[in-house]
Symmetry: C2
Subunit: 99 residues, 2 copies
């Protein structure tokens, strides 16, 4: 006998919400420290390497949203019919690919 | 008679320092607002589009550093001999390309 389809995961559980918010808070702190590097006249290459690190952290944040949250969001709370929801998802992914 | 080679631009003039620091402060504020979106349970695609906007802002910041500051930094304040300085520049650009 086939098992019933499992209930899809809840969108942004309290745990994942906290983990994602903490990631963004760390990125904010990182940007603040880069701002201080600019004010301290630090070398351009050091500044760029830290900017690359923040961009990598944002890529990681986005990959978590896409991989573990997007499906639940589409099923549970995204407005619109199936076509509109597909359009919203592809628009967001295209924006990320351009950035 | 050829003109003397112009003095290279100063690295991070007070004006460009302020403009760059302001850009980073805006990106920090933007990340703070995305953190609030996560806490407000906003749709995943809306969150991703804002993350893409912050990444684009960081790309713009980095392009300004590369285009208008890197040369002055290499000439005026980057430590090491010519080979070491070239190594520093290429390492920073490679880090950005990976991010």
């Amino acid at each position: 006998m086939r098992r019933a389809k499992p209930k899809s995961q809840e969108y942004l559980t309290p745990e994942s919400q906290k983990a994602l918010a903490d990631r963004l808070a760390r990125a904010e702190g990182h940007l603040r420290s880069i701002r201080q590097m600019v004010l301290d006249h630090r070398c351009a290459d050091d500044i760029l390497i830290q900017v690359a690190a923040v961009k990598a952290a944002l890529n990681h944040f986005a990959s978590i949203i896409v991989e573990t949250e997007m499906k639940a969001c589409v099923e549970a709370c995204m407005p619109g019919d199936a076509d509109e929801r597909l359009g919203r998802v592809t628009k967001a992914l295209a924006a990320l690919l351009k950035s």
